[in-house]
Symmetry: C2
Subunit: 209 residues, 2 copies
């Protein structure tokens, strides 16, 4: 007999930019069977870039299609970034979960809070940099943002820290390997939780006698 | 900076006899730093056997001392087995937890339910055999019990299954390695839980700026 839980779980990997949530998600997915765990694919109105495939990297849709999906409550969350719309399609996620596949959603803190309202059964993991000074170093090292933008990001991060309470777990990403193995441990532990479907398991044992 | 939680946690490894909780506990302890995790040492009125050390295998006490400890509420649980008394000394466990060491307590289901009343913050893990027929085989294989006793144990196990709902986790012990790594994952995940002490962590980040 397999371990108890058979339906998939939604793991929300979230945190401030520079915390390393993207790297952690890549590592998580690279080490796992695609039948067991997959990354949530977002819907977007932006044009595909070279090499990007519909349904793999994004679902590419028109602005009208995106608006219709919003109107029908079809997103777990959605946001506009630099004039392009991005959203997490509810149906696609629920299909995967029903098929027994875990879904990993990498998302910023505001997005995670929206997902929590739409899907409170998700497992919310906050990825935290080891310190604010290390976060500053990481953001500076990227070389993509001016000092002003970085200062803005850091003060936003401080504000957003109070939302940790909305999460189930917090993982400090100092050592990448350590952080990845902690997130993996969380995904394993969550599948051993005693939940409502425990009755089914108990019945199976009773029928055997 | 270290991961969030600094105080130890009490992990209760419980389940029917023959489920393999003893083997799982030994493996868990063998692989871990004694500063990080230790086994709970019981108090007993039975005489020490060859090689058994006071404070290591058991705390050996007189019947009077045991009774006094009961009277002063000094046990997380206690029971009499074949005329000898056994109990989990509350103070010893709390000292370890306060020092930041996790404590692992291997105990039967009735004992676990008593511990839950005395220490609801414990993490309760139910170890389940993969099936009743495999449990029967394991108990028969031990060669220590008559068929009658085994039948009694099996029907007791079926009754006790309904207590799974009182537990936090259930781990099916089909493959030992798989079960051990699941229990390990649970101990790691539990140390990443967002708990009350998250405020302290947030304050540390805010002070840094």
């Amino acid at each position: 007999m397999d371990q108890v839980k058979h339906t998939g779980k939604l793991f929300i990997i979230s945190g401030p930019s520079g915390a390393g949530k993207g790297t952690i998600c890549s590592r998580l997915l690279a080490d796992s069977d695609p039948e067991r765990m997959c990354l949530s694919v977002s819907m977007t109105t932006r044009a595909p870039r070279e090499g990007e495939e519909h349904g793999v990297h994004y679902y590419f849709v028109t602005k009208e299609e995106f608006q219709e999906t919003i109107a029908s409550g079809g997103f777990l969350e959605h946001a506009e970034v630099y004039g392009n719309c991005y959203g997490t399609p509810r149906e696609k996620v629920l299909e995967k979960l029903a098929a027994g596949t875990d879904v990993v959603l990498e998302i910023d803190i505001q997005g995670a809070l929206s997902v929590k309202k739409a899907y409170p059964d998700g497992i919310f993991i906050f990825i935290l940099p080891p310190s604010m000074s290390i976060l500053r170093k990481r953001l500076t090292g990227r070389g993509t943002d001016s000092m002003e933008v970085i200062d803005m990001r850091l003060s936003k991060t401080l504000e957003e820290l109070s939302y940790i309470e909305e999460y189930d777990y917090v993982v400090v990403n100092g050592e990448l390997e350590e952080a990845v193995s902690r997130v993996k441990a969380i995904t394993i532990a969550e599948h051993s939780r005693v939940t409502e479907n425990i009755h089914e398991l108990i019945e199976r044992y009773k029928e055997e006698i």
